[in-house]
């Protein structure tokens, strides 16, 4: 049995009349798996299931070899889980230290000295040591996200579930985040949802692209980049038949789609592959409708 694995098999989830997941299946081995997808693709619903705070309507979920629908196994998962929600709440009247300490107590770290050492360690890790005694209401948005990351790192969990962890971080903080997460990913499982394709390219050996509650693509970032091979070109004017086209700072137009004969092809990026994949599906669905 592979303990460091997330298995999602034909999972369905509805909220009233809204379908969030529609038969989603994929596997995440140890290491970092990046989830990409437009808003409403079902990434957050999936991550909430991975964090055991949401149960699927149908299908099978297994985290670290355990089934979260079985209450005893759910507890086993939670004991090995670090979760950073998309919109983490904070007790604003708490200091950063008090807040992370409070979460540490609820993570069953009841021995005071060891717990305080661990809280100091994770706050230091995310670069908040100098502001640990400042009230959360006085921290900037980026600092608050780092507090949320710090609590997720408590106890060095086997499974890290991070929902848009780099949103609101400045470039330096994002680099620090990549450093922290990549250091921990060697023998652990990290599920990471993001809109930043650069983060996926820099961090994730594996990427899943989601759309409309399904996995549209599973593979390596290189595979996703390859989706756009031969389909990205530059032109002086916007190409009419391009799926997507935008003007570069140098004035040339970067086009994605079916390149015309003799087009000035350029090497695609991960973002090109992602945009083409998601854009093509959306285009096809629009035509079918």
């Amino acid at each position: 049995m592979n303990l460091a694995t997330v298995e999602i098999t034909d999972v369905h989830k509805r909220f009233g009349r809204t379908t969030a997941l529609a038969g989603l299946s994929f596997e995440a081995p140890a290491g970092i798996t990046g989830l990409l997808g437009p808003n409403g693709a079902g990434k957050t619903t999936l991550l909430r299931m991975a964090a055991t705070v949401l149960a699927p309507d149908a299908g099978r979920v297994r985290m670290l070899g355990w089934d979260p629908s079985v209450s005893g196994e759910r507890l086993a998962i939670r004991r090995r889980l670090g979760y950073m929600p998309q919109e983490p709440g904070f007790h604003r009247s708490f200091t950063a230290f008090e807040f992370v300490d409070y979460i540490a107590i609820l993570k069953e770290m009841t021995e005071r000295k060891a717990r305080h050492d661990e809280v100091r360690r994770v706050l230091d890790l995310v670069g908040l040591d100098s502001v640990k005694d400042r009230k959360i209401r006085a921290l900037s948005g980026g600092m608050r996200r780092r507090v949320a990351l710090a609590q997720a790192l408590l106890g060095d969990p086997d499974l890290l579930v991070l929902d848009e962890p780099t949103a609101g971080l400045d470039p330096e903080q994002r680099l620090r985040f990549r450093e922290i997460v990549s250091e921990r990913a060697a023998d652990r499982t990290v599920l990471l949802s993001t809109h930043q394709t650069e983060d996926v390219a820099a961090l994730c050996p594996r990427v899943v692209v989601m759309l409309d509650g399904r996995a549209l693509f599973e593979g390596t970032p290189k595979d996703l980049t390859e989706v756009a091979a031969g389909r990205v070109w530059l032109s002086a004017q916007r190409a009419g038949h391009a799926r997507l086209s935008w003007r570069n700072p140098d004035g040339a137009h970067r086009n994605i789609g079916d390149a015309p004969e003799g087009a000035d092809l350029v090497a695609p990026t991960l973002e090109d592959g992602y945009l083409l994949l998601v854009g093509e599906r959306a285009f096809a669905e629009g035509e079918a409708a």
Binding site: F15, G16, R74, R79, Y83, H91, S93, L106, K107
Partner: protein
């Protein structure tokens, strides 16, 4: 409309956070209790309530007398009155905090069961405002006992009711906060005691000289405490046993209220 209400209900059910089978640990409850005690005592509403109690009791005593014993009465009585309001409001705010601060999702992913936080809030109320209530009661006992008018009525039976009443009200504030997640919950409890006859029908603090049956009165306070604790914990996990304990405590409490009342009233 029925369909959309059904959607809301099924959506709420679909979003419910599954709980874990673990029992809350004593170590976890006491650690959370320590944090909650500090937060309740340092919350501005607690300090403001103490000041409010002093002001109000100054009005009750009248502005005339400024003798030493009057000042002592004012301080002891005012602080006790403020502690009642402060405990109620700060405990209610502590119970509201997880929902207000949108913490339920993160808490739901943690291994400790939700009862750890509720029991931690209750423990914090006992450790923080409860300890202050005991200290203020001890001071008030000494001050009240020396007053020629009040002194004859002061005894252990009367004074033990102060901290117990404060704990019972604080517990009710936590239970109300868990079931009625609104900042109006605490003030509504206060309003209920001021503007309804509940305070006369079921008084918290009565001297022996009123004719009250002491044993039944203590039984009533114990029943109220039990009922509110069971209701607060029932919000975390709606088990039959918790509702049954709350129900039995309610029935017993009503019986004790009837029994404690002297023939012909107070």
């Amino acid at each position: 409309m029925v369909a959309s209400l059904r959607d809301v209900r099924s959506g709420a059910r679909a979003s419910a956070i599954p709980v874990v089978p673990a029992r809350p640990s004593f170590a976890g409850i006491s650690a959370i209790g320590g944090v909650e005690a500090r937060k309740m005592l340092t919350h501005p509403v607690y300090g403001v309530s103490l000041l409010f109690g002093l002001l109000l009791f100054r009005g009750v005593l009248g502005f005339g007398g400024t003798g030493g014993s009057r000042v002592g009465l004012w301080l002891a009585g005012g602080l006790l009155m403020g502690a009642v309001v402060g405990t109620l409001l700060s405990a209610n705010i502590a119970a509201l905090r997880p929902r207000r601060d949108q913490m339920l999702e993160l808490y739901g992913s943690l291994p400790s069961p939700p009862e750890t936080r509720t029991a931690g809030s209750l423990a914090g109320m006992v450790l923080g405002p409860g300890s202050i209530a005991v200290a203020l009661t001890a001071i008030a006992w000494w001050v009240f006992g020396r007053d020629p008018d009040i002194g004859p009525h002061v005894d252990g039976f009367l004074m033990v009711q102060f901290p117990l009443a404060i704990l019972a009200l604080g517990t009710s504030a936590i239970a109300v906060g868990r079931w009625f997640p609104s900042l109006f919950g605490g003030p509504l409890i206060i309003a209920a005691y001021i503007f309804t006859p509940i305070g006369w029908v079921a008084p918290w603090i009565m001297p022996r000289s009123s004719g009250i049956a002491p044993g039944w009165h203590m039984a009533y306070i114990a029943a109220a405490l039990t009922m509110w604790v069971a209701l607060a914990l029932a919000r975390d996990r709606r088990t039959r046993s918790r509702f049954a304990i709350a129900g039995i405590a309610l029935v017993f409490g009503i019986f004790a209220i009837v029994q404690q009342t002297p023939p012909g009233g107070y």
